[in-house]
């Protein structure tokens, strides 16, 4: 038993570096919001993102006054950039939930320093994703028709359609992610409330923290609720991208109608999401001097998750090609040939393989895994690759279906691009605002990572100890401390 615990400690090295105590981690994280002058770089970054967001507002205005004809999608490619971008954004959100929920259940303590902004990333990505189907309905002011409510028209949604499943999945996902994020924030907002000097922010944080005071009874229910939410989010996140994949796989279009889609989509989502987490946290930890909380070890772990999920995705590509051939259906065989070398979009496929399949192979090597620079580059490449993946799946399957007479080509218009780039602007605008006004790292959870958070065992018979939890606490430090106490 002792041996395994020691082995576990080796497996789970200290996730907070440097000489920190409760006060210093609290101050370090909360000062970013409360005390430090907003760095000049923040204004630059926020300014650029905010300007790019105006592209979105202009596009949406033009779209609403004109109609979705301003986009390039038309028969036979009725689903194009809006759906590509929708799936891309939803996928990015998945890493946040994976980090906050699944890694919590698996007792991976390293999630603690990155879960807060990964969850924020989820929320903002889902917000961006939601815009696309909403606007693609053509009349977004009637989007509430998607929800079942009794109405004078006597109409109901058609529940056998994957598109309605999507409405339920995505709206539930957005709601539960928001709840999860907010519950995690309550104790930290209370910290900000107690430390804020500015009266206005004191009141705002006071309202948001709901009068949290860290009572033992409250913590007790809080931890149960948090664990249950994690337990609920785990099947939820798996179901969301499965249901998104049903939009495709329930149809009969060659290239979409494959049973591998749900797991393949979920793995791709986590893959893309971890790439986005890395893209966000590599600059963040440098600019905000957070290397002692988001350590190099965190980056290595994320790189490994990326490699693992990336390999699942590569397996998915191989299986898609295999299914096409093995189905012996001439349409499937044609689709695969068309996608890989015969069709006009063949080079997208190979670009995709290069971005998602080849680039991640570098992660097998320590040199790349442990270099923040290379991780950043690979993450960017993977983000592009995952966008291309959705492009390949959607466009190459639709543009040449069963009837050659209905074949066509797709090319995006300028408004497809301004819309996509505009949502990137919106995403980063929200991220910058979040970084400025809320604690980017979960303060109370980081406190639990410190050796001094452990109740020492010197006092026999009182309560369980934290020993049975595989975490980063260094036993010798605690022994020394309890000896001092005596």
């Amino acid at each position: 038993m002792q041996e395994t615990q020691k082995a576990e400690r080796k497996l789970f090295p200290t996730m907070v570096e440097g000489d920190h105590d409760f006060a210093s981690v609290t101050d370090k994280i909360s000062d970013l919001t409360l005390k430090k002058r907003t760095p000049f770089g923040w204004f630059i970054g926020f300014g650029i993102a905010f300007i790019i967001m105006q592209l979105l507002l202009m596009t949406v205005t033009y779209l609403l006054t004109t109609g979705i004809g301003i986009w390039g999608n038309n028969q036979p490619v009725g689903w194009a950039m809006p759906i590509i971008n929708f799936v891309w954004w939803i996928g990015i959100g998945h890493a946040g939930t994976l980090i906050s929920a699944i890694l919590l259940l698996l007792n991976q303590k390293w999630r603690t320093s990155i879960n807060r902004f990964a969850e924020a990333m989820t929320l903002f990505a889902v917000a961006c994703a939601g815009l696309y189907p909403l606007l693609h309905t053509g009349r977004p002011w009637l989007a509430y028709w998607l929800f079942p409510y009794p109405n004078t028209m006597g109409m109901w949604p058609q529940f056998r359609s994957p598109l309605i499943w999507d409405v339920f999945a995505v709206s539930t996902y957005a709601t539960v992610s928001l709840l999860f994020w907010y519950v995690g924030l309550i104790p930290d907002i209370a910290t900000l409330r107690d430390r804020a000097k500015n009266k206005f922010f004191k009141v705002i944080y006071g309202l948001l923290s709901m009068g949290w005071r860290g009572s033992a009874r409250h913590w007790h229910r809080y931890e149960i609720a948090y664990l249950l939410l994690a337990g609920l989010s785990t099947p939820l996140v798996l179901s969301v991208h499965s249901i998104v994949s049903f939009d495709f796989s329930v149809s009969q279009v060659p290239g979409w109608h494959a049973t591998i889609f749900p797991p393949y989509f979920v793995a791709g989502a986590v893959f893309a999401g971890f790439a986005m987490v890395l893209i966000l946290c590599i600059p963040l930890r440098v600019w905000y001097n957070m290397k002692d909380l988001i350590t190099d070890q965190h980056l290595v772990y994320m790189a490994k998750v990326m490699l693992a999920t990336g390999m699942i995705v590569v397996y998915g590509y191989a299986m898609e090609a295999f299914f096409g051939w093995y189905s012996a259906s001439q349409y499937e065989v044609f689709m695969i040939k068309n996608r890989i070398w015969n069709g006009p979009y063949w080079w997208f496929y190979w670009l995709l393989i290069l971005c998602n399949g080849v680039s991640i192979q570098f992660l097998w090597f320590k040199r790349f895994r442990e270099s923040a620079f290379w991780l950043f580059i690979i993450s960017l490449v993977v983000s592009v690759g995952m966008w291309l993946e959705r492009f390949v799946i959607i466009i190459t399957s639709l543009h040449r279906d069963f009837l050659p007479s209905s074949w066509g080509m797709y090319s995006p218009t300028i408004f497809d691009w301004t819309m996509f780039i505009g949502t990137l602007g919106m995403f980063f605008t929200l991220i910058f605002l979040f970084v400025r006004f809320l604690p980017i790292i979960s303060i109370f959870e980081v406190r639990t990572l410190l050796p001094s958070a452990q109740v020492s065992h010197g006092h026999a018979g009182h309560g369980e100890t934290r020993e049975d939890r595989p975490n980063s606490f260094n036993e010798s430090v605690n022994k020394a401390q309890s000896a001092e106490d005596k």
């Binding site: 910290t191 249901i243 452990q454 309560g463």
Partner: protein
Amino acid sequence: MSNRSPANPVGCNPKAKVMKKNIYGLLAEFDTPTQLVDAANRIREAGYTKTDAFSPFPLHEIDEALGIKRSILPYLVFGGAVTGLLTGFALQIFVHYIDYPIIVGGRPFISIPSFIPPAYELTILFAAFTAVGGMILLNGLPQPYHPVFNVPRFALATREKFFLLIETKDPKFNYDETREFMQGLDAQEVFDVDE
């Protein structure tokens, strides 16, 4: 045991000289979680029941030390999940079998497999709302005011310090004795908590 009377509603020792005003309880401050848990064990063993502890992060040991019973929250959440599941199926069966039966894709009116995804999502949605709403309501939140906030140093409970409270409502509460007892618990300082 209690000294409660109409003239002395909080039941504190009428002979106490120090105590001039009505107070909510006594609050002791500690530096480490170990001290807090030890002190909590000792106040429980001394027979105090109207107690609470405050810490900047969840401490599992404190539940046992203060004798906090396991919350009923998981059962509520299970109830929420079942309600969500039944709502999901009931809604879809009502829509596609009773109110507006229409054949789609040659499937039966009640096509359970197609109804699973929305019912599944509603299960999770209802359970999540129950978990969060239940936690907040059972905790008596939102509660912007609480007497412990009157102690200026209590602001550190969300930063680094640990606090232990004995309310005057406690039948065993006696201002002088309790204060002395709490000071003997290794506390940094003991504060009066104004009502």
